[in-house]
């Protein structure tokens, strides 16, 4: 059974058809890339999957369970972790608190536990602190754990955001342009981090990327989106040699 299955998903913003008849089958452990020019509707697809917008038509299923109509926090709790194209971090919280916060729905104490600082509350806080520290180490940002996110270099902020997404124990990880604004050096490091996370946490990944080198290297399957429609789908080699893709997308951009 497919882990994430999307059927004929269509979405209108007013009169604008931002996504039309989008289909996806994501198998466990796979990495799928989503490429396309600016405004193609890639981020919108993520927002539709995670429940921020409700699709006008179509179906989204995670492990056979329908996701349409659920709140974003419920969908996230079912195992959909994501990052954002333009970093949505909490500016008054430190790095460790970011990752702990994503363990919110796993906390096994309630309001009364929090009010009275019960033993269970302390144990749970300790447990998620350990878990968060482990994730921070995986993403190489443990050294910043007690700093506010705004004081971190840009690349580190991106990695904090990924660590945070991993803390919800996702089955599917949605990465929206994880290397935007990174130097080639940072880019290579990001590739190895994603590989390692993919292997260690056995998570399926759907990623949006502009840099071809990155998608070609990581993904088993690539979809090309133009004006909300998938115009080509296939292995990196197939995509690279598809004339339509070259015309719509690669032709205008730097292929490296």
């Amino acid at each position: 059974m497919a882990l994430l299955r999307i059927d004929k998903m269509t979405h209108y913003f007013g009169g604008l058809r931002a996504v039309s008849d989008y289909n996806l089958v994501l198998e466990p452990g796979h990495i799928v890339g989503l490429i396309g020019p600016n405004g193609a509707g890639k981020t919108t697809i993520f927002n539709l999957i995670t429940g921020i917008h409700t699709p006008t038509e179509g179906n989204v299923e995670l492990e056979g369970h329908n996701l349409i109509g659920h709140h974003p926090h419920e969908i996230a709790g079912k195992g959909l972790g994501r990052t954002f194209q333009n970093l949505l971090l909490w500016r008054h919280m430190d790095v460790l608190e970011h990752v702990k916060m994503a363990c919110y729905s796993q906390l096994e104490y309630g309001l009364l536990g929090a009010f009275f600082g019960t033993g269970r509350c302390h144990r749970e806080e300790k447990r998620i602190t350990a878990k968060a520290m482990h994730l921070l180490e995986t993403f190489n940002v443990a050294e910043y754990s007690d700093q506010l996110v705004s004081s971190l270099p840009y690349g580190a902020q991106r990695r904090v955001e990924m660590a945070r997404a991993m803390a919800i124990n996702p089955k599917v990880l949605l990465l929206d342009e994880p290397t935007a604004g990174m130097t080639p050096d940072e880019l290579n490091r990001m590739i190895s981090i994603i590989r390692q996370v993919h292997k260690d946490f056995e998570v399926a990944i759907l990623l949006i990327e502009h840099r071809l080198k990155f998608v070609m290297e990581l993904c088993e399957k690539i979809q090309t989106l133009v004006f909300g429609e998938v115009i080509a789908e296939g292995t990196p080699e197939e995509i690279q040699s598809n004339p339509e893709v070259i015309e719509a997308y690669l032709g205008k951009e730097d292929v490296t």
């Binding site: 954002f84 008054h92 608190e97 729905s105 806080e125």
Partner: protein, 429 residues
């Protein structure tokens, strides 16, 4: 050899540095012992000292009232402050630094509850002895502690959660009227509810339950605001909560069975000093536990970026509703205490002016900080009491002060800090 000139600034800096070095060695326990010494000295020698300094009587509120009324007595009042408070605290804290540090280290090894109880016991002793001298002090202190509860609970909503609520006096009113109704009906012979139903002797023990009931009814009131306000994104809360404040007031004005515009009076004297102190400590403790837990930090996540919070499994709507009701609960409890401190309430006590006061204390002290709320409530409350002789000018000075703070520290004096009791009580050696 250095040949730097001794300028006043440098002298001041030196003094400050030396004071810092000195105070860094003294644990909280030492300061509390110093405080006990000071209030004991005032208790036994206060009359004598004020007589020799030419003061008419013991200055009741740190000499502020005397100084403002009769400037000629300023030297005497300052001398009194130094002799009775400043120097004793300083010397006792220094003399006891070593044993106090040892005791603090010993307490730190045990459970934090015991250490906290020792500190709170000392603090209570100071307050008790200090207020034993005059009824006016008792009243000011009780109202200050209630103000701390109000400010802190509003901070949870306006600071931690980043919404803007105006309905705190309304919740306070609900709490005050609910609690008063219960105590008057059950334990007092009064004109509204007639004979007492239960023996008055069990009243004081029942009072905490009445307070909780007041808090719960206030929380129910909060639910009425929360349902429409947090349904969609957008800033409806400020408007809806303001409307709520007026509605509560006019409902109470029209409810004859709680006295209408005349209000309720002769509540039993249940809000004694230990009662108010214990409830305030509980309030601070519970709120501080909450905002330091991950469950409570969800408030900050919701405030800083709601979309990110929601995408990280935080149920933002529930978080907002629960928090709003939580804040209202404590405002209700504070209102119940308030009614039994003044032993008289009328709808006029819970209007816009009260809201302005609470907001001033909150924004002066600092958003998102328990310490800030305590500092803000205590300082604005004492200041407004101390400036009373200036009458109308008081309402110029306090807003000016607030504007200054807002200019230099837009989020308040002590904003965005965590209140860590363990740190506070640790040994300094």
């Amino acid at each position: 050899m250095e040949t730097k000139q001794e300028t006043p600034q440098r002298a001041y800096k030196n003094l400050l540095a030396r004071y810092k070095a000195f105070s860094n060695r003294i644990p909280l326990l030492g300061w509390l012992c110093g405080g006990i010494g000071a209030v004991l000295i005032e208790y036994f020698l206060g009359d004598l000292v004020s007589y020799y300094l030419g003061l008419p009587k013991v200055p009741v509120l740190f000499g502020c009232l005397i100084m403002l009324k009769k400037p000629i007595l300023i030297p005497g009042a300052v001398g009194y402050l130094l002799l009775v408070y400043g120097l004793p605290v300083f010397f006792i804290a220094r003399a006891l630094a070593t044993p106090a540090n040892k005791l603090a280290a010993f307490l730190a090894k045990g459970p934090i509850t015991i250490a906290a109880l020792v500190h709170l016991g000392l603090l209570y002793a100071i307050l008790h002895i200090w207020t034993d001298m005059s009824d006016y002090r008792v009243l000011v202190l009780k109202l200050t502690m209630i103000a701390v509860m109000l400010t802190l609970s509003l901070n949870v909503i306006n600071g931690y959660m980043g919404e803007f609520s105006c309905s705190h006096p309304g919740f306070m009113a609900i709490g005050a009227y609910t609690t008063s109704t219960i105590t008057l009906w059950l334990f007092a012979n009064d004109k509204l509810f007639g004979e007492a139903l239960l023996p008055a002797a069990i009243g004081p023990f029942f009072f905490p339950l009445a307070l909780i009931a007041g808090g719960l009814v206030a929380a129910l009131g909060a639910l009425v605001i929360a349902i429409p306000s947090f349904r969609t994104r957008g800033d409806y809360l400020a408007i809806i909560s303001l409307a709520f404040l007026f509605i509560v007031k006019s409902i109470i004005e029209n409810l004859e069975f709680v006295g209408g515009p005349r209000g309720m009076s002769s509540q039993p004297n249940y809000s004694n000093l230990p009662m108010v102190f214990i409830v305030m400590v509980l309030c601070i403790w519970i709120i501080n536990n909450f905002v330091r837990s991950t469950l409570g930090k969800a408030l900050c996540a919701v405030r800083d970026n709601e979309l990110a919070a929601e995408s990280m499994t935080v149920n933002t709507r529930k978080t907002k509703m629960v928090t709003f009701m939580f804040g209202a609960f404590w405002a209700g409890v504070a209102g119940g205490l308030f009614a039994h401190v003044l032993r008289y309430v009328n709808p006029g006590s819970f209007g816009i002016q009260r809201l302005a006061e609470i907001l001033a204390m909150l924004y002066f002290g600092g958003l998102n900080s328990v310490t800030g709320s305590i500092v803000g409530a205590v300082s604005i409350n004492l200041l407004s009491e101390a400036l009373r002789p200036l009458e109308i000018f008081k309402w110029i000075i306090i807003p000016l002060l607030l504007i200054l703070v807002m200019l230099y520290r837009p989020t308040g004096l002590i904003a965005f800090t965590e209140f860590k009791p363990k740190e506070l009580m640790r040994s300094k050696e």
